[in-house]
Symmetry: C2
Subunit: 308 residues, 2 copies
């Protein structure tokens, strides 16, 4: 990957952080930017992490994909709700052997890419990281985080290994996963209840859910629905993984899931990727998901664009 | 009932309206009041209905049940959330043959009375009426409304017929029901989804629920859960009653269910009577109620006393 040309699409916190860390390590990274373009061209990109401020200046920032041109790797960090925009953004970035790595949340983002540009190009990554874009060109990194990368519909490849290696060289705790979709379901086991109940509970933090007996039980039951759906779809996740997800959450305290922050700031919430698609896939596989069905209908309503 | 002594416990809109109409028709009605006591003693009680203002002055208003003493009929119109207070309020009002008529919402209010003062005393009434207590001693009556009265655990009795007759003479569209608990379940078929989703939907009116495809479907599915639970408990409710409840709701427009108003004014919401008790009874009878379980957990959390 040393000589690879890399594009980052979606210059929010995730794209700027992972792309910025690669750029800092010397990789040839091009950022496609909109609102931050002029600021970053003038002042560069700052990542505040572990008490240290990393300034990247100059940054290769472009306003259109045509300015960047064909790349070896395109990292996609747009919100899943903006996927339709990729139909116009990606073609100028895609050459013969371009790999597409989506760092987006939830299910069906890999499918979206595979259907349009071929499944052989597609990889996915799961980010476990606390980030915030606090101003133009300024990313705050609160928690170490890690990045789990896998091929879409295949086991690990040399390409995937090289990408993981590049992230590791850039200081990211990256690892290669055997089955990407299984990992996505494992992550959903947490996101479905905690991100969902944070909005349906009108601002319930992780501690808010855990400290209320009724919501804690509901969170655990939602996890069981997701677990059963994942298994019905052939993913092997052990029984005690749900209990483990509840247990590990106590230490998060008043953590506000990203969907709650999006909702409160009136940004689009990834309702289909996190709740709608798992519900549809689970039900199609014969799983009982009436709690998730209820939560999904409420979340769709609560996050509607025309909400007051 | 002409010479009966009647007490009204709970001087909110429902108690003042039904008790006030009886008093206006010449019945001997005593109101147990707290916050409105001085105002009503000085200025009487006004019921605005169908463009007409009915002033009752003087009103027999008491501050303690001891002032009233034993009655022939006690009409209970407290919020179900305040039932514990009845343990102190009712004894001075109860004589040998005192009948207790609860006009409260949801399930298990008759049981509460029966367990403490004997089932043979207990009757229940279902109010279909739009009322608002808009100021001290002032009740606004928006909609004709009706009152369905039945014995608890028995078919119609002479006593129940006489009570219905008294309400009819007072101008109320009252009727006698064969099976009180069946009627309560029929009413819950509407209250469970529409009152519940109005809060869980952060202020969704009836039209708000019906105009959102996801919430409308969820409302219909919740009705099916309640219908199946009622049937599992032996109540005969026809299949098409749920569709009828959806259909008849379209004309309500932006109506705000009473629970939503309570919630927004930070008053206690009757969560156990309307959602908790039907859930417990339905589940005990073997009905599948995972949507109601989800809604109940959210409502309990959203209406908690210490909410911000």
């Amino acid at each position: 990957m040393e000589r690879a040309k890399i594009a980052v699409v979606g210059s929010g916190a995730v794209g700027c952080y992972y792309g910025g860390m690669l750029a800092r390590a010397g990789y040839d990274v091009h950022f496609l930017m909109r609102s931050d373009l002029q600021h970053v061209r003038k002042h560069g990109l700052t990542i505040e992490t572990r008490g240290e401020a990393i300034l990247l200046d100059p940054v290769q920032a472009a306003g259109t994909p045509e300015e960047i041109g064909a790349c070896d790797l395109v990292i996609i960090a747009l919100k899943a709700t903006a996927n339709d925009a990729l139909v116009d953004i990606l073609p100028p970035l895609i050459g013969t052997d371009t790999a597409l790595l989506t760092l987006q949340n939830g299910l069906s983002n890999e499918e979206f890419l595979a259907e349009r540009w071929g499944g052989e190009r597609v990889l996915g990554g799961l980010c476990f990281v606390c980030l915030n874009r606090t101003a133009s060109g300024l990313i705050e990194h609160f928690d170490h985080g890690s990045l789990s990368i896998g091929e879409f519909g295949r086991g690990p490849s040399d390409r995937a290994r090289q990408i993981v290696e590049a992230f590791v060289k850039a200081g990211i705790d990256a690892n290669l996963v055997e089955n990407l979709v299984t990992e996505r379901w494992r992550k959903l086991l947490w996101n479905v209840p905690f991100n969902g109940l944070s909005i349906a509970g009108a601002g319930a933090t992780v501690a808010g859910v855990l400290n209320d007996g009724g919501l804690r039980t509901l969170a655990r039951e939602l996890m069981s629905e997701v677990l059963n759906a994942a298994r019905a779809l052939g993913h092997e996740i052990p029984d005690d993984f749900a209990d483990y997800q509840i247990e590990r959450s106590w230490s998060m305290g008043a953590y506000r899931p990203s969907s709650l922050i999006d909702w409160e700031l009136r940004r689009p919430v990834e309702v289909e990727a996190i709740w709608g698609e798992p519900l549809r896939q689970g039900v199609a596989a014969g799983a009982a998901m009436d709690r998730l069905r209820t939560l999904y209908a409420l979340l769709k309503y609560l996050t509607r664009a025309e909400r007051p």
